[in-house]
């Protein structure tokens, strides 16, 4: 059933946005979904989508905490497609910064 697209809008929940650790987590989950036959794309509303399994693509979105993003797939099995997209959406909406990661990827600021 080509052309049968399922899409879902979701708010980025990670405090640092889809960078570093959260981007790695989302890309990892999307890669697993792709292996199960559901390739998922992600986009900012109105912009060109990128492969959600690509950490480079995810980071290039520059999606910050609180931004809306659209997940979509054209996978054949509509039921599985919806399930996979919802699962990934749940991950995007979550704060993927572990408590000890709130400073991850942040260099020590300069001395006073």
């Amino acid at each position: 059933m080509a052309g049968n697209t399922f899409q879902l809008e979701v708010t980025v929940g990670s405090r640092v946005g889809l960078h570093a650790r959260p981007a790695a987590a989302v890309a990892g989950a999307a890669a697993e979904a792709a292996q199960r036959g559901v390739g998922i794309r992600i986009a900012k509303p109105g912009a060109d989508p990128v492969d959600a399994a690509s950490i480079l693509g995810l980071m290039s979105l520059g999606a910050k905490h609180g931004d809306q993003v659209v997940l979509s797939t054209d996978a054949d099995d509509a039921e599985q497609a919806e399930r996979e997209v919802r699962q990934l959406a749940e991950l995007v909406a979550r704060d993927l910064d572990a408590p000890d990661a709130e400073t991850a990827a942040k260099q020590e600021p300069a001395q006073p």
Partner: protein, 552 residues
């Protein structure tokens, strides 16, 4: 003998080991007969690099683990692999295809700017590893001595953040770099780990792998690398090292002069994750500067009161009964925030930064003080708050009034602006304490950009102009019997510590690793001797004279 710039103090003797440089692609590219096999070769190399990064990430913790895991994901990235395939399909050999694909991704990241542009170097490292594998040459990065337990002096062009994240601090005796400044990445990492470091050292490239060297660094004085030392020199250096180690090992407990005059030794802390650093060997008495910026940077919206309270509570709960000085948001200038629109400032260091941010977005400070007060009420640490970049007594009074209205008992300000130092009497009347940020105070007093190497000599904390200003501030607080602290590079200088005690400083706040040497230096002199030195130092007419005066 080689000399460079002092980045982190100490003394070390050991074999030189060089960072392995990134592989270079051969001048001629081999012709590819079998594109499918070539693609498989590239894929296999990327897989192996991803696997080894994942294995290293599993053994690392904190920030390093995050960087490595993201790097491993990049090696597995489907869009990167697609670019590699396109290049191979176009007839390129595997190493060249990887170079091209990574170059394209980097171009995209650099074009995006900001955070993403900084991550482009992670990708560079990834390309170098993959290409080294494909060419069958040594893996670039940290040296891998034949004896894995060997301790060595690390020689490098400069260290990348990725190198420092995985630096085996127990194996590295000292760091010598050809490039980099005393405030650069390598220097910050070396100081944090307590490893002596010489940066911007011409001739460092000529030192051969395995050559024995002596590295001797005293900040502001010597930064030398002795090549081909004689047996006697090696022995003398080792003896000196042992003496120093023994002296520091005997150093623990609260800071004081030989006759028991207390000078609190506190730690500068940038995030709740660094707390382990202040227990342990450094034996800090508390936190003299907790920077709150990390909670605010790289975000689209300000953190909520609840989120901030949780972070402060974590900090305070770990330090019951101890002093913890929290500095309110010091954003602006080189630390811009997405949610504070300041417009284009031609001179950000002179713009809306520190406490001035509150005039643009008052809610930020209100929320922060609410969160700090709420965390303080739930924990048993002795909480103090201070505002950065205060310029006038009016600003100081306004901040004190606001912080007290939140129920915070001890409120101070930072002295970083010369005008505030000049009007310290009026400021000292209204605050509970002050803390001098010497790096910014030097920058503004000497009109010399902190980030510019060419004016570094003006930013020397031993400049008489700066010392006189500092002494004046300390004296004003001493007369009122109010605490006065110094945080910044200067607090970590063991030669300066007794002078600061002589000026009347009641606490010094520094990188935790600097505390043992400062503690030992203070214990050698009585308060009277410290005061005598302070007087002689104030009479000096140059940084060199001031240092000499502090030595006797």
């Amino acid at each position: 003998m080689l000399t460079g710039l002092a980045a982190s103090p100490g003394l070390a003797v050991g074999p030189a080991r060089r960072m392995v440089p990134p592989p270079e692609l051969p001048a001629t590219e081999p012709a590819v007969d079998d594109a499918a096999a070539e693609l498989e070769r590239a894929t296999k190399a990327l897989d192996e690099v991803a696997e080894s990064l994942e294995a290293t990430a599993a053994q690392a913790s904190g920030e390093a683990a995050g960087v490595l895991a993201a790097q491993a994901m990049m090696a597995r990235d489907p869009s990167l692999r697609a670019s590699v395939q396109r290049a191979v399909d176009a007839g390129r050999a595997a190493p060249w295809a990887v170079r091209i694909a990574v170059g394209q991704a980097q171009e995209m990241m650099r074009a995006a700017g900001g955070y993403l542009a900084e991550r482009a170097s992670d990708l560079e490292d990834l390309a170098n590893r993959t290409i080294a594998k494909l060419l069958g040459v040594a893996m670039p990065g940290l040296p891998q001595p034949e004896d894995p337990d060997e301790a060595y002096v690390l020689f490098a062009g400069d260290l990348a953040p990725a190198d420092t994240a995985t630096l085996p601090v127990d194996k590295v005796l000292a760091i010598v770099t050809e490039r980099g400044g005393p405030t650069g990445h390598s220097a910050i990492i070396a100081r944090a780990a307590g490893i002596p470091a010489v940066v911007s050292c011409p001739g460092a490239a000529d030192v051969a792998d395995g050559e024995t060297v002596i590295v001797r660094v005293q900040v502001g004085e010597t930064a030398e690398v002795v090549r081909h030392p004689s047996e006697d020199e090696v022995q003398a250096a080792e003896q000196q090292r042992a003496d120093l180690a023994a002296r520091l090992a005997g150093s623990s407990g609260p800071g004081s002069t030989a006759d028991g005059h207390r000078v609190q030794l506190l730690a500068n802390v940038g995030s709740v994750d660094n707390l382990e650093a202040i227990s342990g060997d450094s034996d800090a008495e508390g936190v003299g500067l907790f920077r709150t910026e990390v909670l605010f940077l790289d975000r689209a919206a300000a953190p909520t009161v609840d989120e901030q309270r949780d972070a402060y509570r974590k900090l305070l709960a770990a330090l019951p009964g101890r002093d913890v000085v929290i500095r309110t948001l010091d954003a602006g200038s080189d630390k811009p925030l997405a949610f504070v629109q300041l417009g284009d400032e031609p001179n950000p260091a002179l713009g809306v930064r520190g406490y001035r941010t509150a005039s643009v977005q008052p809610q930020l400070l209100t929320d922060q003080l609410t969160a700090i007060a709420s965390a303080a009420a739930e924990t048993a640490a002795n909480v103090r708050v201070m505002a950065p970049m205060i310029s006038t007594p009016e600003e100081a009074a306004a901040f004190v009034e606001q912080a007290r209205s939140h129920g915070l008992p001890s409120v101070g300000v930072m002295i970083e602006v010369p005008a505030a130092a000049l009007r310290i009497d009026e400021i000292a009347d209204v605050v509970d304490f002050v803390s001098i940020g010497t790096n910014d105070l030097a920058q503004y007093t000497f009109a010399a950009d902190r980030q510019l190497g060419d004016v570094a000599h003006l930013l020397d904390p031993w400049q008489p102009g700066l010392l006189q200003l500092i002494a004046r501030v300390a004296e004003a607080l001493r007369r009122r019997d109010k605490p006065v602290s110094l945080c910044g590079e200067a607090a970590a200088d063991p030669l300066l510590a007794p002078v600061l005690a002589g000026f009347g400083f009641t606490s010094l706040s520094m990188a935790p690793t600097a505390i043992p040497a400062v503690r030992a230096a203070l214990r050698e002199l009585t308060l009277e001797q410290c005061r005598e030195r302070a007087e002689r130092v104030l009479a000096a007419s140059s940084p060199a004279e001031a240092r000499a005066a502090a030595k006797s």
